[in-house]
């Protein structure tokens, strides 16, 4: 139904149709203003489940922002009803913050679950994230490449270009670098790194992890014994410092 394979840039994503379902008129109004300001212009509104279903059938929106508490049915029922004929991505925007609701919503196949009150910036980021994931999958699928000081790391190719020579990364080294890059500038605990590469609760791999980190440093650092990019945070884990160049 949706042309998911198509490559699109950000502006084209904003041509997508968005349906906002909420029973509070002022909130609908605010969301409308927020989305319009961000550049979306094909915005539909529904105040209850029945009109939301009708709108999805006729206007075929490409993203639905859904409240959990609606006057005629709850948002979970509505999602189940939607899923019977459409796979449109859904973002829950709920005043119910309990874990149960969050898990229920995500379990039913929602793409994201946000709790009110929310910051507009966060909502827009999440909307864009869903849009990119669903409608621009090709871009998202490739692994990142980035510059670390004198070398450039290409995780997709698992290679490092350094002073004209090319070094290759082992799968484990690539996995570790990917995890560190995803949380660049932040501490990633040894537990999280082990889990990312060796799976569930793999604390016994801690020593192996140190060996791998040392090998990565030998490849990316000018001086592996005084690292500039892949830092150790004693007792906690590691941190990758990437200077954004693009």
């Amino acid at each position: 139904m949706y042309n998911r394979g198509q490559v699109m840039d950000m502006d084209m994503l904003k041509d997508r149709k968005i349906l906002v379902v909420d029973d509070e008129p002022p909130l609908r109004q605010m969301l409308d203003a927020l989305l319009r300001k961000e550049g979306f212009y094909r915005i539909y509104m529904a105040q209850d489940g029945a009109s939301a279903l009708a709108c999805i059938r006729t206007d075929k929106p490409e993203l639905v922002i859904l409240d959990v508490m609606l006057p005629d049915m709850d948002g979970f029922e509505l999602l189940a009803a939607i899923r019977r004929f459409s796979s449109v991505p859904v973002l829950y925007l709920s005043a119910r913050g309990e874990d149960e609701d969050r898990l229920l919503g995500l379990g039913l196949g929602a793409d994201d679950y946000m709790v009110k009150p929310f910051l507009p910036r966060e909502l827009l980021l999440r909307v864009m994230a869903i849009m990119k994931r669903v409608y621009a999958p090709v871009v998202a699928e490739s692994l990142p490449s980035f510059i670390l000081g004198a070398c450039s790391v290409d995780l997709e190719q698992a290679t490092i270009q350094r002073e004209g020579s090319e070094l290759s990364l082992t799968p484990k080294e690539r996995g570790l670098l990917l995890k560190l890059y995803e949380h660049r500038g932040r501490i990633v605990t040894t537990d999280a790194l082990c889990q990312a590469v060796w799976g569930d609760d793999a604390y016994s791999y801690e020593n192996t992890l140190m060996v791998h980190i040392r090998r990565i440093r030998e490849k990316i650092e000018r001086d592996a014994s005084s690292p500039q990019h892949l830092l150790t945070v004693r007792g906690l884990g590691y941190k990758l410092i990437v200077k954004e160049t693009s």
């Binding site: 002022p26 300001k37 913050g97 009150p117 910036r121 501490i187 609760d201 906690l236 884990g237």
Partner: protein
Amino acid sequence: MEGVVRILRRFMSMTLLMFALLLVVNIALLAGLIFKNMNQSPSQDEVVRRVAADICNEADENMKCGSITEDLTAIGEKQEGSRAGEKAATASLYWLGAKGKRLLEEHGAWMMLLGSDGQVVANYELPDDIPRSYGVLDAVRFSRHYLLDYPVSSWQRGELLTVVGYPKTSVAKYQLALPVEWVSTLPQRALLLLLSNVLIGLLLALLIGMRMLKAIRPLARGILALSREEPVHVEPKGVLGDLAQSINSVSEKLQASSLALKQRDEARSNWIAGISHDIRTPLSMVLGYASELEEHDEVPAEQRQQAGIIRQQGEKLRHLVSDLNLVSMLEYEMQPLHIKTLRLSALARLAASDLLNHGLDARFSLSLREMDERVRVQGDERLLLRAISNLLNNSIRHNPQGCELFLAVCKKQDLPGRCELIVEDSGRGVPEEELPKLLDLPYSSARRRLAAGGHGLGLPMVARIAWAHQGRLELLPRSGGGLIARLELPCEE
């Protein structure tokens, strides 16, 4: 149930004791009441023997005894007066001693002397209807029984037979002929009798005890269930029916009150959940428009800054609402736990790196101490993480001058199966007497005033998360200033 068995045991021993007492009393009564007067002393055989011994005649070699007696009664004279006196008249005279006479008078008895030919040779107070001459068969008949309804006893004295007769119907005579075996086994059989009595007593006690036990057992079960606050219904029948009914009514009352309590808790929790829900939507709009104004290019810088303050305060409110909701759910035990096996040290590291990732001010330093990697707990990851961050943030918030923070995870040395996560700070600390109050909910009776700078839910939330995990939170003053928070949890061995 043990109590019931104890009651039965006590009851049985009491019954046995009572039974034994009854037996002793019965034997005493038997001896005292029944056999009294049975044998007036001296016995009949004794009487006849003594009377016989006290009879003297001239020709007898026992004359000496006769000479001792002073008051002689000539039996011969009496015999002369009686109607049958042919041969016997020639017999020598006999005397009855004073003792023998007194004995006979005491019993109102008569006596006669039979010669070897069956003729009465002498008598004393012999009733007229008694024959004066006897054949062998007659003698055999009366020797053990009655002579014309007079109970008689006889005693051989030399050639003569002394017969003492008692008034009619004064003595019942039975002849006892007992096998030797019966007599010789009498003690054994008496013992058997006693034993079977004891046995019957025991059985009876057991039977009655069991019946009582049967009646008590449902009651005991009911009371036991009452103490566990389970619903109870005891069938109100038997002797203890009243008791059963009261147990039932107590149970109903307990159930009703606990149901009411539960409903009230649920209502409160739902009420708080409802309020926080109702706050969320308007707060969304406050946050939304405030941050829009804050980012709007055309708004003057000062107003944008003010909008920023509105947004920050709105975010504070947002946290407060969700904290309030979480604490209320925990307080009323309505927070679902997603339990899985967690390594506490990994959780501590995650909390620590989150804190550092969000930017820890340079006034603070965080260091890890002992980290026992083997400590595994069954718990809700999000809640435990929240608890650790609350402890860290609590130390930071209440020490604006800056302090050192320490994190440690270890097993309890003295308590197997328990572990603890310790958050320690070198800050200002809290007066020791204030410490326990910090775990109470703010604005509760125990804790009316709040420390400046917090909403006061942080530590109560940690305590409730600990309780939900069958653990506890302990706050201690640190020597040299500062606070130690020990989050104790059950852990896998």
